[in-house]
């Protein structure tokens, strides 16, 4: 069983999880969070969302879901969005 407080590892290796995560915390359009709506996304939006998260979390902004990035995404955290409104740059 994962050490208490960490999101289950199996859950983290699912692409949909990352999309949901980035949408939940303000890096992608909230509509991505609606599992019933198929969501096609262009590569540049996806890359930009990952880079914004990496920048906010103090990681190398590779634009890829590398090991370091997915590790931080699996940390227990606060449910409030990091970005106060989708697409807005931080003050």
């Amino acid at each position: 069983a994962p050490a208490f407080g960490e999101t289950d590892k199996a859950m983290v290796n699912d692409d949909a999880y990352f999309q949901m995560y980035l949408a939940q915390y303000g890096y992608l359009s909230p509509s991505v969070r609606n599992p019933s709506s198929g969501h096609i996304m262009d590569e540049s939006s996806w890359k930009r969302a990952i880079m914004e998260f990496q920048s906010f979390a103090g990681l190398n902004t590779t634009g890829e879901l590398d090991e370091e990035t997915t590790k931080v995404m699996s940390l227990p955290r606060c449910g409030v969005r990091d970005k106060v409104g989708f697409g807005e740059t931080r003050a």
């Binding site: 208490f4 960490e6 289950d8 955290r77 606060c78 449910g79 409030v80 931080r90």
Partner: protein
Amino acid sequence: KRYALQGSRWRVKNLTYKIAKYPSRLNRAEVDAELAKAFSVWSDYTDLTFTQKRTGQVHIEIRFEKGEHGDGDPFDGPGGTLAHAYFPVYGGDAHFDDAEMWSINSRRGTNLFQVAAHEFGHSLGLSHSDVRSALMAPFYRGYDPAFQLDQDDVQGIQALYGRKTQTDIGGGGASVPSVPRATTQQPSAEDPALCADPNIDTIFNSADGATFIFKGEHYWRLTEDGVAAGYPRLISRAWPGLPGNIDAAFTYKNGKTYFFKGSKYWRYNGQKMDGEYPKEISEGFTGIPDNLDAALVWSGNGKIYFYKGSKFWRFDPAQRPPVKGTYPKPLSNWEGIPDNIDAALQYTNGYTYFFKGGSYWRFNDRTFSVDTDNPAFPRSTAYWWLGC
């Protein structure tokens, strides 16, 4: 890198809160204490006050819930999302995932105090910070027994609600509240050891207005009416590189805090050493002796005064040499202040205070003598400053 303000804040500073639904696996009284402590993280640096109510309308409602709980933002079981809170414009409420293993003062589980202090930052108008060491960073970083707000958090909350204007603990100063103080402005906790032996090594204000007492290896932060809950703590944890049993300390108008012990002194910027220290006192404070009793920046002229035995020195960094004229002079010039004092402080209310044994004196800068008041000075340090 810095804090982020969501854009709304409370227009009042005396806020109320209610724990509408408690966690299923913790003692209610303990939850009350931990959440009060979490609020005090923010009231320590502002004039915000937080009063718990059991019923009726409040500013901030707190609930421990599982899964979907009526706000469209369901919790996800153990791990993942631990809690969320709403900014003032959206009501300020805070919700915690009751599926988490909430813990108190333990490495196991998820620390309730730290997560609650973070969520209450949102309830007050703070967004997430990208400063990794800040409380308002979004990621839970595990139990931290020496928890301290990061400067980034302090700047964020003071950008919203201003700095703390402490009232006089010693009963002086114009800012003494005319009405009885709110009951639970911030949790103060009597410290039996300090009450039993209220002799102190030194007392000083930090650049951001907090007041600290040093004794031996430990320190306490003062609240409006006593010592803050969760103290004493180790000096070496908060001011890395600083030893215990400090002789004297003061914060100068450059925002740096200077500590003196034996023949050495240290300079800190906040709680970070500000260069290579210790240095010799004779090197940085020419004309000032070793093994000091006390030091302060006097409210009367902004110069630095050092006290030792029955003598005192005036140090003016703007002069060459900084100690001019016929110093040292007899301490008896400070009419009514005894020799061999333990500590001295210009408190944030602008008054100058001297401490010796378990007593203290408030100094009247105009008459240049101990203030007259009822009750008269000296007064009990334990009662008036330590909340005993």
